[in-house]
Amino acid sequence: MKELGVEVLSISTDSRFSHKIWNEDELSKMVEGGIPFPMLSDQGGRIGRAYGVYDKAAGVDIRGRFLIDPDGIIQAMEVLTPAVGRNPDELIRQIKAFQHVRATGEVTPSGWEPGQATLTPGPDLVGKVWMAWKPE
């Protein structure tokens, strides 16, 4: 994430005190030096409500991930119920694709990875996507 120039913020309804102890006692044993990014506290779920991820019955924020561009616009989101963890590879792919689109104005087809062909939208491409791109 550092290499991609992306700031990560994690957030849960736990207190900042809980974050500190969790980082020091457990996470630092999983990741050397502990978690390098800010761990935000959303006690009461006010922020989770604004993002549509607050579970009122359980009193927690469910697993929601939001990719926000330098203009503060949400470009991508993914929301999962608690039992399934995320796939960072797909997040990284999306970051690279959105950064490419922002830099070039091109668009990226399904499953695009850096280095693969992109599409340039315009009248000439209508009905001709099949010539430029096929699903694998």
Binding site: S10, S12, P38, S41, A50
Partner: protein, 49 residues
Amino acid sequence: MTTARVGEKAPDFKASAYVAGEGFKNLKLSDYEGQWVVLCFYPGDFTYV
């Protein structure tokens, strides 16, 4: 209240945070304008997944 949608402005917020090596801090999402941000909600510290 604003609701998060793709293609629209991310709702700004203030939050207290723990930052390893720095201690406790108050942050705003708008502090990060001009940068890409991944905001990750999760259900709780010390849980399994």
